[in-house]
């Protein structure tokens, strides 16, 4: 135990126990309640659901499980298309984040070393300013008489303003804009550690730059691609603010639907079952992310 600053078992127990207890109570346990409420029936009451376990008479307890919410999610095409719509929007915007973020990360990793930190800081800085306000900025740019349309009309490229706000395109722009730093950072981390002698050897042997990239750089940076991609893909599937502010009524996303069920329709059980489904869907990409992070740790 030499070298541990708080090696006595009591200290060790506290260091492990306190954060474990906190996260267990406020992060893990709540999922059980999501599962429980998703199986209950909605009622007009406060809180608006029937408890699963009810005392019918003295000592006699009834447990009723209601799978109706899940059945509804399965049968109503609205929810199915919202789920698949979210997955599609999330996948496409992850791809665009990677397409834009990869060259940026590559350029920073190959920049002179005293330039790298300031360039990285410039990537992170927008992440520190308000997310809500950065999404809001795009309303002013994309709307009918917004900056982009004004500019395009002024420059004579178009006569009629383009309709971009409240379309899927606006949602894609908003997502790529907000989540770009999340792909640049892990990509930079893998690209900066790339062994340049491999590329030199390939070049000496007559390998063309494009082939060098495809056969050496890209495969070696794959962990960064997956980590960055998952850091965008997972949260975007449940995104609410961007589709709500930039999307139109036809932009169906599951996070927005959950918000509506909860706040407008006050249907807590249905919102809970949507959350449970979303959670199950996201487990696979999350496991992939963990897998690659663990590999990073061992390297």
């Amino acid at each position: 135990m030499k070298g541990l600053p708080l090696s006595p078992t009591r200290g060790r127990g506290l260091i492990i126990g306190v954060p474990w207890f906190w996260l267990g109570l406020f992060f893990l346990l709540p999922f059980l309640f999501v599962l429980k409420i998703s199986l209950s029936e909605p009622v007009l009451a406060q809180p608006p659901y029937l408890d699963l376990i009810r005392e019918v008479e003295d000592g006699l307890v009834s447990i009723s499980l209601n799978f109706g919410n899940y059945l509804l999610l399965w049968e109503d095409p609205l929810y199915r298309s919202a789920l698949f719509g979210s997955l599609k929007i999330s996948a496409i915007s992850t791809l665009f984040c990677l397409l834009l973020g990869y060259p940026m990360a590559y350029a920073i990793a190959r920049a002179p070393s005293h330039w790298r930190l300031p360039l990285l800081m410039l990537i992170i800085l927008p992440f520190w300013t308000s997310f809500l306000i950065r999404v809001y900025a795009w309303i002013g740019i994309l709307k009918g008489n917004g900056l982009l349309n004004n500019f395009l009309i002024w420059s004579g490229l178009i006569d009629q303003p383009l309709e971009i706000l409240h379309t899927p395109l606006a949602v894609y722009i908003g997502i790529v804009y907000s989540y770009l730093p999340f792909v640049v950072l892990p990509l930079y981390a893998t690209l900066v550690r790339l062994d340049l002698t491999l590329l030199e050897a390939a070049a000496d042997l007559g390998c063309r730059p494009w082939k060098q990239f495809l056969t050496i750089t890209l495969p070696l940076s794959l962990p960064g691609v997956i980590a960055g991609g998952m850091l965008v893909f997972i949260p975007v599937v449940g995104e609410f603010v961007i589709p709500d502010l930039l999307g139109g009524p036809d932009t169906l996303m599951i996070g927005k639907l959950m918000w509506t069920e909860f706040f407008s329709n006050k249907d807590w059980p249905l919102a809970s079952s949507l959350a449970a489904v979303l959670l199950v869907v996201l487990i696979i990409p999350f496991v992939a992310l963990r897998h690659f992070e663990q590999r990073e740790e061992t390297i």
Binding site: P5, R12, I15, P103, W128, T129
Partner: protein
């Protein structure tokens, strides 16, 4: 690089323009005379004046700052403990679960975190009577939970790259573990703690979704006010508020950057002397 990869330079410049253009447009139009945000009608600072008259917004900002400051302190304590546990204790029961519990909040959609915590708070109030009602306390608890995950990641990487020989030397010389922690470990990881505090603060200040779920009547945070006003359309007042936030954050990051730079230079000098 410039000679060999003109394409890369273009991508980098385009990327930065994409990241900063919208923020710049917000700042420019916050000084616009006209209420129509996108039509320029001359320079004016009147929206900043109106911002200071908006009592609802000021109250919300004050509540948000209180929540963010408490959250940041709580998240730094809990996040540091979690990072210590994960870096210093290689084997213990529940290590895997702890690792997952500090990674998951980073990517978990906010709607799930918000809803699940609300259901927990409702159930807890029903069964043990605490927390009594929802408001500042429940928002702070919820924010601390997801902010501590970010702090853990930052402190974890600092601890992993830290030279442990100083601690070992102090322990060998008979210093008590707690004293070693406060006189050696803590000063060495202080920059990470400062960065974690600032990040937790801004994350809490910025959160709309989780706060909307776990808040109750009477507790309205700044993002909630901004959101309801943004839903009605663009308003120059929000532009003015955005400009203030951007300036504030840039200043904080610049100060943090200078501090880190100085510390690194000093460490380098000491290394060269020794």
């Amino acid at each position: 690089m410039r000679r060999r990869f003109p394409l890369l330079m273009t991508a980098l410049l385009f990327g930065y323009a994409f990241l900063y253009g919208p923020i710049l447009s917000l700042i420019v139009y916050s000084f616009n005379e006209s209420r129509l945000v996108t039509v320029w009608a001359g320079f004016s600072t009147k929206w900043y004046g109106e911002l200071l008259q908006n009592q609802q917004l000021l109250d919300a900002a004050w509540l948000s700052i209180k929540v963010a400051a408490t959250t940041a302190c709580g998240a730094v304590v809990l996040g540091t403990l979690a990072a210590l546990a994960l870096v210093r204790f290689r084997r213990f029961r529940g290590r895997g679960t702890l690792q997952v519990m500090v990674t998951a909040p980073l990517v978990m959609p906010e709607v799930i975190i918000g809803l699940s915590l609300l259901l927990l708070f409702v159930a807890m109030q029903d069964s043990i009577g605490w927390p009594d009602g929802r408001g500042q306390l429940t928002i702070t608890l919820a924010h601390t939970t997801f902010a501590m995950a970010y702090v853990t990641v930052i402190v974890q990487s600092r601890l992993a790259h830290m030279d442990q020989s100083l601690e070992e030397a102090a322990l060998d010389l008979g210093a008590r573990p707690l004293k070693v922690f406060f006189t050696i470990t803590l000063p060495l990881i202080a920059p990470a703690l400062a960065a974690g505090w600032l990040l937790a603060f801004t994350l809490s200040l910025d959160d709309l979704v989780v706060a909307s779920f776990v808040s109750g009547p009477g507790a309205t945070t700044l993002p909630m006010v901004v959101y309801s006003s943004v839903r009605l359309g663009v308003s120059p007042e929000i532009n003015a508020l955005a400009t203030i936030i951007v300036l504030f954050v840039s200043l904080a990051v610049a100060i943090a950057g200078v501090l880190l730079y100085r510390q690194e230079k000093r460490a380098l000098r000491e290394q060269n002397q020794g």
